[in-house]
């Protein structure tokens, strides 16, 4: 009886794995194809009929990409901008979410509704007013121009708000009775207990910031300030005659930090997303 039950469980697991494998392959295939092309020689890339795997792994395209554009600078800019945006969004979201979920004050519901409401506004709507504001401050083509408009996130506040709400009130009261201040409770209890959600949101914020295209495109003019995504676009437009292999190599280098970040933290990311009840 027990073994039949185990067999059935195992069978169900296999079916579930196979069903999930298909969308996973569809998602991963472009990335895999990108890597394969980046490892091919020039003639191999355009051969017909096309072949998926390279004859041999070649690093030539990577050397070419690094030599023809300041990729490391783009990577550095993206890393600086994405890290600062992530830090700022985490900081503001943690404080705002805690205040909205734990403190009682007048207009609390309205403030929350307003914050949730910002999630309904498409990012493009704010581009022009933000551009003029930053231009009037002479901030264009600077790091603050890339960071400050994204230092708070309605989604982040909403996401962490839901998580903080699940922390039992008695835990806070017990700490409060022992002489713990609200701020200490936030950093000593609420943050450690919400680490999966905070990590998940951190990765989400970092990837979002890393992948930004439109805003850096209109606010930066020099390669000293341009980010990886602009770099890829620029790379293509300036090197139309260039081999796809080189473009794919450049792309592989520019997306590698976010892919590695996700691989390193995927357990926390999935835990945070599933615990909060929000699915991407």
């Amino acid at each position: 009886m027990v073994s039949r039950f185990k067999d059935r469980k195992l069978k169900q697991r296999w079916i579930a794995t196979l069903v999930l494998l298909l969308p996973a392959l569809i998602q991963v295939f472009p990335l895999f194809y990108l890597l394969c092309v980046s490892w091919k020689e020039g003639a191999e890339v355009i051969q017909y009929p096309p072949k998926l795997f390279p004859k041999a792994i070649q690093w030539f395209n990577y050397h070419e990409a690094l030599a023809s554009a300041p990729l490391l600078r783009f990577l550095l800019n993206s890393a600086i901008v994405a890290s600062f945006i992530t830090f700022c969004q985490l900081f503001t979201s943690v404080l705002a979410a805690y205040a909205l979920s734990r403190l009682e004050f007048k207009g609390q519901k309205w403030v929350m509704a307003l914050i949730v409401g910002t999630m309904m506004i498409p990012g493009e709507v704010t581009i022009i007013p933000n551009y003029f504001t930053l231009a009037s401050w002479n901030w264009l083509n600077t790091y603050p121009a890339l960071i400050v408009p994204f230092s708070a996130s309605g989604f982040g506040i909403f996401f962490l708000y839901q998580f903080f709400k699940t922390i039992p009130k008695e835990l806070e009261e017990a700490a409060y009775l022992e002489g713990c201040s609200r701020l200490r409770f936030l950093f000593k209890f609420a943050v450690p207990l919400s680490l999966p959600a905070i990590t998940a949101f951190g990765i989400y914020a970092f990837v979002g910031a890393w992948n930004q295209y439109l805003w850096p495109l209109i606010t930066t003019q020099t390669t000293q300030m341009q980010t990886a995504q602009i770099g890829i676009g620029m790379f293509r437009s300036q090197n139309e005659s260039m081999s796809w292999g080189v473009i794919m190599a450049a792309t592989a280098m520019l997306i590698s930090p976010t892919v590695l970040l996700f691989i390193a933290t995927q357990r926390q990311f999935v835990k945070g997303m599933t615990m909060s009840g929000i699915k991407g």
Partner: protein
């Protein structure tokens, strides 16, 4: 040890008045249980003593010092919560010493108090475990230990046993009782379980609809309830109230509009002792055997009564029996 003085305390949440001028004096070292049905205001009253809620009116004093608006940490109280409220990411040791570290108690002293509390509560082997690795009873002991190490003037217990199974509840009840005798600390204990109240309390304060119905020793409340609510709330099974035809069967013995009869004061005909009165013939609708005794649910003239019978043979459901009651 400290006395607690609750003086005409009121609490309103919006339009709802949850506490209506409650006054209660608790002597130093006394174990007082606040008991009552859900929503009667007992937890609110406890939370006001703790400083987690502010009274809408009235005063609270601990050790003759007015603490009505004082911050909880300055009141010298420690609270044990219903769901333990242990810090899940900290070890038992860290849970126990957290409050002491905040109070900047000397490290050696912290170690001494933590070890002593762990020994008393049988937690020495679990000090490096996290709460998630403990059983319900162990978690509750940690919660008590956390209160103990702070050496508070007043211990507050908010339904601390209601998350435990019946067997463990009895065990923990005994442990709380031993602990109280050992520490002789002033304790206020909230529960809706009147058995807990009866077994633990020096005095019980029965609350109903935001008011104190009666305060007294467990036996005083059981034997001389001042209100119908106290009479019905204290005692298991609840007291029967005789009205209408049943009351008439008592004839000259009772003048009131209803009369209360404890289940243990009812008998099958001819088995009673002392002065008995015939109540009537009734049909047994349910028998709940508990070993040496049974609760018999009887219908007499469309009234339902519960009787506690001690016997080695109990009647069966559906039987018609004659019932008598003892007149005290």
């Amino acid at each position: 040890m400290a006395s607690v003085e609750i003086d005409r305390v009121k609490k309103q949440f919006g339009d709802i008045e949850v506490l209506k001028e409650v006054s209660l004096s608790i002597r130093s070292g006394e174990f007082v249980v606040l008991v009552g049905p859900s929503g009667c205001g007992k937890s609110t009253l406890l939370r006001m003593v703790a400083g987690l809620e502010l009274p809408s009116a009235g005063n609270i004093a601990i050790d003759s010092q007015d603490v009505t608006t004082m911050a909880p940490k300055l009141r010298g109280v420690a609270m044990v919560f219903q769901n333990y409220a242990l810090y899940p990411h900290m070890t038992v040791r860290d849970n126990l010493k957290f409050g002491l570290e905040l109070a900047k108690v000397d490290k050696k002293e912290i170690g001494r108090r933590v070890n002593e509390a762990a020994e008393v509560l049988g937690l020495s082997a679990h000090l490096d475990k996290k709460p998630g690795q403990l059983s319900g009873g162990q978690k509750q002991r940690v919660a008590m230990g956390r209160a103990m190490v702070r050496q508070p003037k007043v211990f507050l217990f908010d339904e601390p046993l209601s998350n435990l199974d019946a067997q463990l509840r009895v065990k923990m009840r005994t442990e709380i009782s031993h602990l109280h005798r050992r520490l002789s600390a002033t304790s206020i204990y909230v529960t809706h379980d009147q058995v807990e109240a009866m077994t633990l309390a020096d005095r019980i304060a029965v609350m109903y609809q935001g008011k104190l119905e009666q305060v007294g020793s467990p036996l005083e409340l059981y034997q001389n309830p001042k209100t119908k609510f106290v009479a019905s709330f204290i005692g298991t099974p609840s007291m029967n109230f005789l009205q209408g035809e049943l009351l008439q069967s008592l004839k000259g013995n009772v003048q009131a509009s209803s009369a209360g009869v404890r289940p243990e004061h009812t008998f099958l005909a001819n088995t009673g002792q002392g002065e008995c009165v015939f109540l009537g013939k009734g049909q047994i609708v349910l028998v709940e055997p508990l070993g040496s005794l049974a609760y018999i649910h009887v219908r007499i003239h469309d009234h339902y009564l519960v009787s506690e019978l001690k016997s080695d043979r109990f009647p069966h459901a559906g039987e018609t029996v004659e019932f008598m009651i003892t007149i005290l």
